[in-house]
């Protein structure tokens, strides 16, 4: 199974990176860009064959390691290949 994980900052949490990127885009002439937020995108392959169990496993990984749940949310997609 393949898992795709999005880790994003919770709403209201300051995103210094997003802020700087937004600013830089502005100076590069891309006007009208707002609300830039930068997160992480993680792909992994799992030995687990059962989608339900795979999802539960990745959930545990997110809570334990992949996401900092104090300030971050995560979303998991499980796919066949």
């Amino acid at each position: 199974m393949k898992a795709k994980v999005h880790v994003t900052l919770k709403e209201g949490v300051l995103d210094p990176q997003g802020k700087a990127v937004q600013h830089a885009l502005g100076s590069l002439g891309f006007g009208g860009v707002k609300g830039v937020r930068q997160g992480k995108y993680i792909e992994l392959e799992l030995a687990e064959k059962d989608p339900k169990k795979a999802k539960a496993e990745v959930e545990a990984m997110c809570r334990k390691l992949l996401a900092n749940t104090v300030i971050e949310n995560y979303a998991i997609d499980i796919a066949e290949k």
Binding site: K10, G12, V13, L14, V70
Partner: protein
């Protein structure tokens, strides 16, 4: 929740008596915004209500002190028209909740305290305490805190040159993260926070205000319980890049005559900064909250006033200088806005959407802030443990190896290599020695910087332990050849409402006072962090001492490393063999008990002044104070630092060998010299006890009559522990 109920009052950390006082001052019931303001202004963190009475006992003056406690940071004179500005501050609770961001924002906060006074920050230090290495959270907390300190300090480009890091189960539920910043300023260009003049613009600069850390100050003033997780959303995220721009922009504007007063927005953000500036200047202030740059839509006055968003400053500027301020901050791509003006009403008036949303009298609020004389009880002094009652292992060199690889004594290289300790290209004495040396840019002079505390001594005997903490900081500076000048402190304790905790606090203040007076080492700034308890379990009393010294010619300073073979190794100071509360007793005998080593402040001063003089006269080539772990540990550290061994001979009679090798008697230094005869002669004249220990050379450490151990074997133990510990998940 706009109605003020007893539950609302309690949620704001105000006692019913305090709330009654609020109502008496206002002559009415406060609205929620006003209550919020009272709650942070009267929090322990902002008002020092339990500690003020005691802090007054500390000596704070000396001819070289320009500004003592009361401002954002302390200021001392280092000659040639220059001043050093420094302070230490805690970020314990936030770091426990989110170690990376908690520690990072701790560094950001203390940097702002220093550059708000007009100084360019030139060095950071940090004093860290973690729980037992076996505790399941310790590794994660340590890794996160160190990465956070590095992440922030490295990015702003201020070298992190020193600190300390020890472990004890008492910190399992309450780690300590104390950060210190040292800055350099022109003596006649120091900025203070008192507003002067009516009708002047109040200017906001830095990052936008978001809903970060609302209630941070009250959180720092409350005990932890298991539901600490529920408090998570108050975590703030640091933006070191913006801080770096803020430093440059503020220093640029400070070079003009635009600023009347300036204050960083720290704990309690806009509330405490505006309040303090007005209160110190005896003025009123009127703020238009619609002008405050906001990050999020729909923020209420309550949220705007209590937000602890980072990287923000508040300034009062001269009339007509708003545009100049705007130009500078816009060049650095920072937000800047005039958000109000000073008044002569003595009131703080907040407006939003054209309506008055809060109206508070400033003076009564500041002056009537509660002050407590909390009951206290001194702990009984533990018995002195005679060396003869402590078992001697038959493998003394094995014991040395174990001590060097024990968590408290193991090398902290893994930590400091994650800190850029060389940026600014003035670090003449890097981490790993006694005090770090940072050259005063463009001169031959250098500052010696250190932070010290031995909490197990303070737990055993707060008075003696605090004397020791001050003495050790003084000694670490002296061991480089520098003259100790002044101290900042970070008093970390449990719940002050408990008499035994207040007893520890009172005892530590007494000890610090003794030592600071005896060593001419005034306290110029500091911070108190109470309520370091989880589920009723308090931390060890931890009065961390940060200190600054000065050497006129950095070329004369010495380091701890044995670099040359054939030097005579000497010991300065008396050795009685005190093993009570020692690392040997704990690590080898598994006992944590007994009175800590007493500090003889007269001897301390005599020995230190002698060592410093010998260094300045070029008679000593390497020097290290003797602290945790005792004499043999000190000699081993010197050998490892320079990769040159030594052979030393123990005395023939008293004290017992293990006590001589591992006793933690105070006021001692190990030095290597090529002028042994002159040094011994000078010591005799000065009435300072000096013993010849042996000679440097080879690749082993040899103790006469006992045996040898190779430096690689010792190094493996000393350098290996922390990386190995952190590598295991």
């Amino acid at each position: 929740m706009n109605e003020i109920t007893p539950a609302t009052v309690a949620a704001h950390g105000l006692s019913p008596e305090e709330y009654a006082r609020v109502r008496a001052i206002l002559g009415r019931t406060p609205n929620l915004t006003e209550l919020g303001i009272f709650s942070v202004m009267w929090s322990e963190h902002c008002s020092y209500k339990s500690s003020k009475k005691w802090l007054k006992l500390l000596p704070t003056t000396a001819p070289w002190v320009i500004c003592g406690p009361g401002e954002n940071a302390g200021v001392i004179d280092i000659g040639d028209g220059q001043a050093v500005i420094f302070k230490m501050e805690s970020h314990n609770h936030p770091s426990f909740i989110e170690p990376y961001q908690g520690a990072a924002t701790g560094v950001g906060g203390i940097l702002r305290d220093v550059f708000t006074m007009g100084a360019r920050p030139i060095a950071n230090l940090n004093s860290l305490r973690f729980g037992s290495p076996d505790h399941p959270r310790t590794r994660h907390l340590l890794g996160g805190v160190v990465a956070g300190i590095g992440g922030y300090g490295n990015c702003v480009g201020v070298p992190t040159v020193g600190g300390e890091c020890t472990f004890h189960p008492a910190y399992n539920g309450n780690i300590l993260v104390n950060a210190m910043t040292v800055g350099l300023a022109d003596k006649n260009r120091i900025f203070y926070s008192a507003a002067k003049g009516v009708g002047l613009p109040v200017v906001y600069v830095g990052s936008k205000t978001g809903r970060d850390g609302i209630h941070g100050a009250t959180m720092a003033s409350a005990e932890f319980s298991e539901d600490a997780d529920a408090k998570r959303p108050t975590v703030q995220v640091g933006d070191p890049f913006t801080e770096k721009l803020l430093i440059e922009a503020c220093l640029e504007l400070m070079a003009t005559d635009a600023i009347v007063a300036i204050q960083d927005m720290g704990a309690a953000g806009l509330t405490s900064s505006s309040f303090e500036m007005a209160s110190k200047g005896g003025l009123g202030v009127e703020l238009d909250l619609d002008q405050v740059p906001l990050r999020e839509a729909g923020m209420t006055p309550y949220e705007i006033m209590l937000s602890e968003s980072q990287e923000r400053m508040l300034m009062i500027v001269k009339p007509g200088r708003e545009d100049m301020a705007k130009r500078v901050f816009e060049k650095w791509e920072l937000d800047v806005a005039v958000i109000g003006r000073t008044t002569d009403t003595g009131h703080m008036i907040l407006k939003k959407d054209g309506r008055v949303v809060a109206d508070l009298p400033i003076d009564p609020l500041a002056k009537a802030s509660p002050q407590y004389d909390r009951p206290w009880r001194a702990a009984p002094r533990p018995a002195v443990i005679p060396a003869a009652d402590v078992p001697q292992t038959n493998d003394l060199l094995g014991a040395l190896k174990r001590l060097l690889g024990s968590p408290d004594l193991a090398s902290k290289r893994w930590i400091w290599e994650q800190y850029d300790h060389m940026v600014m290209a003035d670090t003449a004495g890097r981490p790993g020695g006694d005090a770090a040396l940072v050259r005063v840019h463009g001169t031959k002079k250098a500052l010696a910087l250190t932070s010290d505390c031995t909490p197990r001594y303070c737990a055993a005997d707060p008075v003696e332990g605090a004397r020791q903490a001050v003495a050790e900081a003084w000694r670490n500076i002296t061991a480089t050849g520098a003259t100790p000048l002044a101290v900042t402190d970070n008093m970390n304790f449990g719940n002050p409402e408990k008499p035994e905790i207040m007893g520890q606090f009172a005892g530590c203040i007494e000890g610090m006072r003794d030592a600071c007076l005896a060593l001419d080492f005034p306290v110029v700034s500091g911070n108190v962090s109470f309520y370091n308890e989880t589920n009723g379990q308090a931390i060890l009393p931890t009065p961390a001492i940060g200190a600054v010294g000065l050497i006129e010619d950095v070329a004369k300073a010495v380091a701890i490393a044995f670099k040359v073979e054939g030097l005579t190794v000497i010991l300065v100071g008396d050795t009685k063999g005190h093993l009570g509360a020692s690392i040997y007793l704990r690590e080898i005998c598994g006992r944590e008990e007994g009175a800590p080593p007493p500090v003889d402040l007269d001897a301390e001063r005599r020995n230190g002044d002698f060592v410093r003089r010998m260094i300045r006269e070029g008679r000593i080539q390497a020097c290290h104070d003797v602290s945790d772990g005792g004499l043999l540990v000190a000699v081993a550290e010197m050998a490892l630092a320079g990769s040159v061994g030594a052979e030393i001979a123990p005395p023939s009679d008293e004290p017992p060998l293990h006590a001589w090798l591992f006793g933690e008697d105070q006021g001692r230094y190990v030095a290597a010299t090529r002028d042994a005869q002159q040094v011994l002669g000078a010591a005799r004249e000065a009435g300072v006890p000096v013993h010849v220990l042996g000679t440097t050379g080879g690749q082993t450490l040899t103790v006469g009559g006992i045996g040898s151990i190779s430096l690689p074997e010792l190094r493996e133990s000393h350098e290996g522990w922390l990386p190995r510990y952190m590598a295991t998940a």
